[in-house]
Point group: C2
Chain length 500, copies 2
C-alpha cells in the first residue's frame, strides 16, 4: 500500500470524507446500534449489520485491535393486559404472566442465527439495555446534577433548550432547534415536559408496564436513547472512534445520545459517525403495509410472491455488498438473480485459484501482465480505503478473476507471472473474498444436498449392479464405507445403513 | 398411561422420591444453575445441562408449559494487574485495558455453540448476573432490613447464626451448623465477619477489581450466591417448582440460596431440588492436574491421548443419557466406543421405522405380539416417570428396536400388528429418540462428508467415462446438475464447478 492509499471514511457529523486516524492506535473502538429484540430480524437491520461487519473485518485486516460493541435493546414498552384487580391472584400466577425476557430470548437467538447465516463475525461485546439499568440511573442523576435534566412525577426529562444554550443540539442531523420546536407535535403525556422537544431519560412505569426497576424517582424504566450513551462509553471510553447505525437513527436517537454524553461529561463522545442507508424493494420503501415486506427467511426459502426462487445467505450477502453502504439498496428478484450468477463466478474463481499451481519460467515474464496484477491488487485496497467501497472492490476482484480464469484455461501462461505476483494474486483474491467480504462456500447449506448426492450415488450403484459391472459396484461400496455407510443389497433393492 | 404411571422425582431436600405435582399446573418453573463464562465449556457442566435438557423435553412432552431459566454467571473476580498509579493514563487508555465483558462474550458464544452441538434446547430465559445488579442490591437491602445481614466496611454479609435461630441452615445438604462452625477455616478477609460461617452478599471492590457497581455500601460487586436467589424468583415467582444444578453446588451454593430467599421472603423458594451427579474419567475424578481432563472439543476431534478416535456430539449425548443423571458417569474410550455402536443401531432403527410400511391383514393379529408392543411402549414412559431414568428408557427402546428389525427383515409379519399398534410403535420410537432423548441424525456434522461423497461420485463418473459407459456418465451428470454442480471434462481429467 502506498502512502496515499489510506483508509478514509465519510463522517456524518463533519459531512466530509476524512482520513481515518484512531484516537489511540492500534486500538479502535466501534459502537453500532443493534437490534430491538421484540420481533424477527428485519432485512434492513441485516443490511446495516453486514455493512459494519465488512468494516470490522477490514479494520482487523489492516491490523487494528478493534473492540466492536453492538448493543441489544431488550427494554421495550410491553404492557400487561391482564386484569390486575385481584393482586393475590396476579402474584400467585406469576408463571402465567407474559415474561418479556422470554420474548427477548427467543428473538435474540433468532437474530444471532440470522447473523450467523450471513457469516457476520460476533461483536466483541453485546451489552443489553436491561443489563445496564444502574449505569443509566447514574447518568440520569449526573444530568440532573449538571442542570440538563429535571424530574417530574417520577419521570426525568432532558432539558434540550437549556443544553442548547451552551452546546449545539442538532449538530449531527443538521436540524435547527427553532424549527424542531415548531414542528414537534404535542403528544400524549407531553404535559410533563418543559418543552415538547425535551426527551425522556427515565419514565415512571404505569401499573400495566411489566418491565420496571427501582430508581431514585420511583419504579420505572429508562428512556430509549440512554442505553447507547451509557454502554458505548462504558466499554469504549470517551471519546471513542466510530459510532455507527442506520441513517434513520441519526435523528432523534444519535442526536440525543450526543446531548446526553456532552451534558454528562462536557465533551463529544464520538470521533467518526458513520451511517448506513436504507433498503427499498422494487424502488419503494419496504413496509408491511405496502405488501412488499420480505424477511431474511423468506429470501432463504424463496417463499414470497415477489421471488421466483430461493437465495442463499451468501448470495444475499454478496448482493448487499455490491452496493456501497451509504447508498440505497434496492431488492428485486432480477437483481438477486444477477448477484447469484456473479457470486457463483466468484466461488468458482476461489476454487480455481486454490487449485492452480504455478510453474516458473523465468525467461518469459510478461511485464505488462505483472504490472496489471500488481495494480489490480492495489486497487482492491483503494476501493476499501475509499470509505469501505465494496462495489469498487468487487469490480476489481472480477478483473482479477478474468486473469485467474485465463491462467486456468491456458489462454495465458501462468509462467509469465513472477512468483511473487502469483502469490500476490492468490493472496489478494482469497483474502478479500473470504476474510474481508466474508463470503464462503455453502454447499453444506442445502440440508438435503448430501442426501441427494448420496441418492445419485446409490442409483449409480444399482445401475452398475444391474449390468453386472462389479468394478464400479465395488468401488462405490468401498469408498462410501469410509464414510461409515454400508450398502446392502436386499430383495427390494439397494439400501444403506450406518455401520454399527 | 395408567394412573400409576406418573412422573416421580427424587427431591434432594426431602431425600425421597416424590410424585411430581406442579404448584400451578399446567405451568412448571425450572431454574438451573448455569455456567460461569470465564473459560471453555466443561464436560461436567455439559453432562449437567444435557440432563436438564432431557427433563425439560420430557416435561414439555407431558404437556406442561415449562419456563426454563438457566443463568449465566458473568461476574467474576477478575483483577487488573496494570499499574493504576497514573489515573489519567488509565482513563485515556480504556481501550487498552482488559474488558471482562469481552471474555464473557467469547465464552458465552462458545458455551452456546457446544450446547447446540449437543442438541440441547435453549432455555426460555438466560439471565445474567450483571444484568440483575439492581435486584441483587435490593435483596441485600431487604436482608439487612429483616435483620439477617449486616454491612461492614462497604461489604455486606449474611448472618448465618441469626438466621439459624429462626430457620434451619443446612437443611438441603444435611449439614449441622455446629460442625460447620468448627470446620470453617479462617480465611483472608474473614475478620470482617461476625462468624466465619457467614457469607458475602456484597463485596467492596478493591482498586484492582475491574467489575464494580455503585451500591448503598459503596462501589462493589455481588456475592456469588445472590444472583440465583434473585433471578430464579424474579422469573418464576416464589415458590417455584424445580431447582437444579450439579451436586457440588448443594453446599454451600444452594444452601445459601435457600437462606437468602427465606431470609428475604420468609418462605422456602423451591418445591423440588434436583441434583445431577459428577463425572469421572477411567474411574478417577476428572481434573487438569490429574492429566485426565477432556474437553468437549477433544471428544469431537479425538485429539486426546486417552481417545482412540473422535466421537460425534450425538454419540456423546447418547453415552451420557445411558447413565441416570443421579449416578456417577464414567468416561472411557471403551465405553464411548460401545455407545457409538448402540447409537448407530438406534439411528438405523429410526431410518427403518420411518420407511417401514404397514399392510393390514386383519385375520392374523398376534395377541401376544400386540400386547408386547403395548407393554414396551408403556415401559418407555415408566422409565422416564421413574425420576427421568433414561437408561431404563433406552433399554426399552432397544427392545422395541428388535421388533422393528424383525418386521423389516420379515422375520415377523407386520400384518400381525393391529394398525393402532403399528402407529404406537412408530410414534413411541420416534418420539422418545428424537424429541425426548434429543438425538438426531448427524451425517452433515462431518464437514467433509459431502466433499468425500462428491469425490466418490466423480471417481465413478471418470471410471464410467473411461470404459465408455455413457449411460452412467449421463445419469451422474444429469442428477448432479440438479444440485447446481456442473461436471466438466478437461484434458487434465474431470472437474466440477458451480453452475453460474
Amino acid at each position: 500500500m502506498n502512502s496515499e492509499n489510506k483508509l478514509c471514511v465519510y463522517n456524518t457529523i463533519t459531512r466530509k470524507k476524512e482520513l481515518f486516524e484512531p484516537i489511540n492506535p492500534p486500538f479502535v473502538g466501534m459502537y453500532v446500534c443493534g437490534p430491538t429484540v421484540y420481533g424477527d430480524a428485519h432485512l434492513g437491520n441485516c443490511r446495516t449489520f453486514v455493512s459494519y461487519d465488512l468494516m470490522y473485518r477490514y479494520l482487523l485486516h489492516l491490523g487494528y485491535r478493534v473492540r466492536y460493541v453492538r448493543n441489544i435493546t431488550d427494554v421495550g414498552h410491553l404492557v400487561n393486559d391482564a386484569d390486575e384487580g385481584d393482586d393475590k391472584i396476579a402474584k400467585k400466577a406469576r408463571m402465567e404472566k407474559l415474561e418479556p425476557m422470554e420474548i427477548v430470548q427467543r428473538y435474540t437467538l433468532g437474530f444471532r442465527d440470522v447473523m450467523q447465516k450471513f457469516n457476520t463475525l460476533p461483536p466483541s461485546i453485546e451489552p443489553t439495555a436491561t443489563g445496564h439499568i444502574l449505569e443509566q440511573i447514574e447518568m440520569t442523576q449526573k444530568l440532573i446534577d449538571n442542570g440538563y435534566a429535571y424530574s417530574v412525577n417520577g419521570s426525568v426529562y432532558f432539558d434540550v433548550i437549556k443544553y442548547n444554550q451552551k452546546f449545539q443540539y442538532g449538530k449531527l442531523s443538521g436540524r435547527v432547534i427553532e424549527e424542531l420546536i415548531k414542528t414537534e407535535r404535542d403528544l400524549d403525556g407531553q404535559e410533563e415536559k418543559k418543552n415538547t422537544i425535551d426527551f425522556a431519560l427515565w419514565k415512571l412505569a404505569k401499573p400495566e408496564h411489566i418491565m420496571r426497576w427501582t430508581s431514585p424517582w420511583g419504579k420505572g424504566f429508562p428512556g430509549w436513547h440512554l442505553e447507547c450513551s451509557v454502554m458505548s462509553t462504558k466499554y469504549l471510553g470517551s471519546p471513542f472512534d466510530i459510532h455507527g447505525g442506520g441513517m434513520d437513527l441519526k435523528f432523534p436517537h444519535h442526536e440525543c445520545e450526543i446531548a446526553q454524553n456532552v451534558g454528562a461529561e462536557g465533551s463529544e463522545p464520538v470521533k467518526y459517525w458513520l451511517h448506513t442507508n436504507m433498503l427499498t424493494v422494487g424502488g419503494q420503501r419496504m413496509g408491511k403495509s405496502l405488501g412488499n415486506y420480505i424477511s431474511p427467511d423468506q429470501l432463504f426459502t424463496g417463499d414470497h410472491k415477489m421471488l421466483s426462487k430461493s437465495y442463499s445467505p451468501m448470495t444475499v450477502r454478496f448482493f448487499m455488498l455490491q452496493t456501497h453502504y451509504a447508498s440505497t439498496l434496492d431488492f428485486s428478484d432480477e437483481a438477486l438473480k444477477a448477484s447469484e450468477k456473479g457470486f457463483r463466478k466468484i466461488l468458482n474463481g476461489l476454487k480455481t485459484i486454490k487449485e492452480l499451481s504455478y510453474q516458473e519460467k523465468q525467461d518469459i515474464f510478461d511485464e505488462a501482465l505483472n504490472k496489471d496484477i500488481e495494480q489490480l491488487s492495489s486497487l482492491c485496497y483503494e476501493g476499501m480505503n475509499d470509505d469501505f467501497n465494496s462495489p469498487k472492490l468487487i469490480a476489481n476482484l472480477f478483473n482479477l478473476l478474468k486473469y485467474i480464469n485465463s491462467f486456468h484455461n491456458k489462454v495465458l501462461n501462468i509462467g509469465a507471472l513472477k512468483p511473487e505476483n502469483f502469490i500476490l494474486l492468490k493472496t489478494t483474491f482469497i483474502t478479500f473474498v473470504e476474510n474481508i467480504l466474508g463470503l464462503k462456500e455453502e454447499k453444506n447449506n442445502n440440508p438435503n444436498m448430501l442426501d441427494d448426492v448420496l441418492k445419485t450415488l446409490l442409483d449409480t450403484y444399482s445401475e452398475a449392479k444391474n449390468r453386472k459391472d462389479y468394478a464400479t459396484v465395488d468401488l462405490i461400496r468401498k469408498e462410501i464405507k469410509k464414510q461409515g455407510i454400508l450398502i446392502k443389497d436386499t430383495k427390494e433393492g439397494v439400501e444403506w445403513s450406518y455401520e454399527e
